[in-house]
Symmetry: C2
Subunit: 163 residues, 2 copies
Amino acid sequence: MNEIKTPPSGKAEPLQRLGEIGLSNFAPYLMNRIMGRYNADLRQEMTGLGLTTPKMRALAVLSVIDDLPISELAVYAVVEQSTLSRSLEQLASDGLVRRDPDPSDSRVTRIGITETGRAALDQLWPSMARIYAQMFKDIPDEERQAFVTTLQKMLKNIRKHDF
Amino acid sequence: MNEIKTPPSGKAEPLQRLGEIGLSNFAPYLMNRIMGRYNADLRQEMTGLGLTTPKMRALAVLSVIDDLPISELAVYAVVEQSTLSRSLEQLASDGLVRRDPDPSDSRVTRIGITETGRAALDQLWPSMARIYAQMFKDIPDEERQAFVTTLQKMLKNIRKHDF
DNA sequence: CAAAATAATATGCATTTGCAATTATAAATC
DNA sequence: GATTTATAATTGCAAATGCATATTATTTTG
């Protein structure tokens, strides 16, 4: 009772509606709810540090993969290119990132994180880790791992780029 | 190789940084990436129908749980209350929702979906279902079910309200 | 190799957003 | 039961967002 009905096989069925699935069985709904809270909670911590969600995301990505072209960073950071452009302007003027012209393609600007940028992120990290831990409270390691594995498959299924 | 290091046991460890975990092992990152795509893909379909993300979310929730106070709807729909207030204004004037005063508490306005609202959502639903199917392509039913179960636990862990 | 098509970034602008403050009502406290 | 405190919803406003476009550089094509 309460699981998603599986089509018997093959044949196209009259599309199951959201009301029949139920909000709490619809993965995208649950994910939006969870990430809504996660991002809102984090935003509170960021404002104290003068960061916004796009800025924080850019820094977070750069802390792992450095020296990215802006367009690639936009994909990784899940921020609109135009929004990111403006965020980077500020991050650069605050000395949290560096802008380097790409030597082989002069259209490209590569973004790198500075020591100051890393420090800013480090200040935020404990909050991120805390909210992360809260999310997975009482969820066994094995389940967590399986969950991440599924997420990786989903990203592969849905993403538009190869990264 | 490439899994999250588990603290040996007990003792507090020097916090593991994001770079060590890796973006593709960090669940919130993956979830933001996936939902970013999901929402962006959906937005495209919505604009054709004159809907925005907040409006669509309100309708989607109402299609499952009707006659909600605005403040509760805001939580379910993951939309800021002030934003929702304005979205509902438009939905109401377009005849997609109904606004009823709560009989027992005159501060409260209860929102209900109209037939027209349901019809609008029905028009969008095939796209939602298609993107949903794409997300879970080649992911076995059992895995999908386990994934949703974990999501439900996570929401319980992180949410601020009892619903 | 000139012309056209594609790509990376920035920017103008209208719209949307989120925060704080406001208004109206209800509940709690003294 | 009057006063304080809390809750629901709206609204003013500055800031952020997304789209379309502009600009510059590269690649492709004829």
